[in-house]
């Protein structure tokens, strides 16, 4: 059998394969460890964590739409103290890279969290400037190129690990956002975060979510995400992590061909707890089928008709 090389380099960190998890859909891996071998994943991206615990939004926090879901969890998280004590040591038991997703309400919050994580055995940081479900912070930094550039520049002053900036699709020109954070020193970008949506229960004449709006994810958003990953990969020189509706290896390969160096599985975890491992396996099967010995040959390899 041919030897397959599935390893990719993400901002100087080598992942054994390009399969990661989407922040917020996988906890810190504890719950999914019952269903998948975490050693099989390129990296686990944790749920967003802030310098202090956050309560999140009132319920209902989740609802279903055609081919997707809307969520408005509101970044409930235990804060860094417990996270560093419990979640990082848990992940350290596995042979996978650790990416910590960082959220905050102010630039200072982000910088404090990033600085504290500098002393932790964490491989990469993912900066969430794109959560549509919180009133302060989150997407406020992710919809204006100047604000995104400024917060990235500040964070880079404190970060010891490479920084991935997670971008929002709720913008007119996502390539411009990517260029702004690249100019500020971002080591990689990840996209897409969820698309802002709304659902109304016509029988009760109420919003389906207590937050009124939520972030849409799932297979229905995939074509939008593939398009945006392609546009961003064309526009920047830093690596791109692609996500948005990935449920199978075929989905993941579309993103890689569009220019993603790594990919992340999110909503699919909710309906198939084994999705991450199946995607990793399916990518290898595809490589064998098409005699691709090194996955890096596929990154951005899509051709015009």
């Amino acid at each position: 059998m041919e030897r397959l090389s599935t390893a990719v380099s993400l901002a100087g960190v080598e992942l054994k394969n390009p399969v990661m998890t989407c922040s917020g859909t996988f906890g810190s891996g504890m719950e999914y460890g019952e269903f998948v071998d975490l050693n099989r994943l390129g990296a686990v991206v944790t749920k967003g964590v802030a310098n202090v615990p956050w309560e999140g939004n009132p319920t209902p926090r989740i609802t279903e739409v055609y081919g997707g879901i809307l969520n408005a969890i509101g970044l409930q998280n235990p804060g860094l103290d417990l996270f560093c004590q419990r979640d990082i040591p848990f992940l350290k038991q596995y042979d996978t890279k650790i990416v910590v997703n960082v959220c905050g309400r102010t630039v200072r919050d982000y910088c404090e969290a990033v600085e504290r994580l500098g002393e932790q055995p964490v491989d990469l940081l993912e900066i969430n400037i794109s959560c549509p479900n919180v009133k302060h912070g989150g997407i406020a930094f992710g919809q204006d190129p100047a604000a995104a550039e400024e917060i990235t520049r500040e964070i880079k002053k404190y970060a010891k690990q490479p920084v991935i900036v997670k971008l929002s699709p709720n913008v007119t020109d996502i390539a411009q956002m990517a260029q702004a954070v690249e100019a500020a020193g971002a080591d990689a970008v990840s996209l897409i975060n969820t698309i802002t949506g709304m659902k109304i229960d016509i029988h009760r004449r109420r919003f389906a979510l207590a937050n009124k709006t939520g972030g849409m994810s799932g297979p229905a958003v995939k074509p939008i995400a593939v398009r945006m990953v392609y546009q961003v990969a064309q526009a920047v020189n830093i690596p791109v992590v692609g996500m948005g509706g990935i449920a199978t290896a075929e989905d993941a390969l579309e993103f890689i061909l569009a220019g993603a160096t790594a990919v992340a599985v999110g909503t699919a975890n909710f309906y198939n707890p084994r999705a991450t491992e199946e995607v990793a396996q399916g990518i290898e099967d595809y490589m064998r089928q098409y005699h691709v010995s090194d996955i890096r040959e596929l990154i951005g390899a899509v051709e015009s008709l």
Binding site: P53, G68, N77, F270, Y271
Partner: protein
């Protein structure tokens, strides 16, 4: 520690037992072998446009035959899909999920099992496995279901209907007061206003009280943090006051949750 399994389950039998209420027996070996009263399972739709699992309480457990009984209400497209399925059809199922009712607390005590509407099904297996003397109080809008199961398992049953078509007219609390029912320990599952009233009643009587909660769920295994309820104590996961219904629950000691 007991595990969770994702299996392909086969429908053995399904029938409609009241308006919009269906009773389904599923062959699901590993889950049936592990499940305890008060736990639930996640059912996945075969229609791929419907992503989220439907959490459904376990009504009966038969580990010897490897079967579970689920009694559910048709509340939307997903449950409509389940209701249209026939013996031999298969669906994906994840479970057993959640903590279940504490059984040993009832040892040597008089217990009262209170179920409102679609909160009633988990009381069937609880009634079978709970030690001691048991009274079942069931509340319905109008049409009754599962009462023949309870009559075979409980020392006493009482019914309340909102429209007064059977038993006490009103709520389960009206039935309890009208019939002068008493208990040392209460287990309840049903709509939030009912749980609130039961919690108050138990506090007033000094009875121990366990409530099974419901909330919109995502993953069903404690990762997504969608189905939280407000807890009195700081929770272990996020150090706020949000316990996960799917993980720390669905059964909580009444004093632990804010309703």
């Amino acid at each position: 520690m007991a595990g969770k399994f994702k299996e392909k389950a086969t429908i053995v039998y399904q029938s409609r037992i009241a308006a919009d209420i269906y009773s389904m027996w599923l062959q699901t070996e590993r889950i049936a072998a592990q499940a305890v009263p008060g736990q639930f399972v996640s059912l996945y739709c075969n229609d791929a446009s419907r992503l989220l699992p439907r959490p459904i309480s376990i009504c009966e457990i038969n580990p010897r035959s490897g079967m579970l009984r689920l009694v559910y209400r048709v509340a939307g497209k997903g449950t409509e899909e389940f209701a249209s399925m026939h013996p031999g059809d298969t669906l994906d199922i994840l479970g057993p999920l959640g903590n279940g009712f504490p059984l040993d607390r009832a040892e040597g005590k008089r217990s009262m099992l209170i179920g409102g509407g679609i909160g009633l099904p988990p009381m069937v297996e609880l009634c079978r496995q709970l030690p001691g003397e048991k009274t079942v109080v069931a509340g319905f809008r109008s049409e009754r279901f599962l009462m023949e199961d309870f009559e075979a398992l409980a020392a006493r049953t009482a019914v309340a209907t909102e429209d007064g078509s059977f038993g006490t007219k009103g709520t389960v609390l009206d039935a309890i007061r009208e019939q002068g029912l008493e208990a040392d320990i209460i287990y309840a599952c049903g709509p939030t206003p009912m749980l609130r009233a039961v919690k108050e009643y138990a506090a007033e009587k000094g009875a121990e009280c366990w409530l099974s909660m419901e909330e919109r769920m995502g993953c069903g295994i404690g990762a997504c943090l969608a189905c939280v309820c407000q807890s009195k104590e700081i929770d272990g996961h996020s150090r706020v006051h949000n316990k996960r219904v799917c993980k720390e629950g669905p059964v909580f000691e009444a004093g632990e949750v804010e309703l």
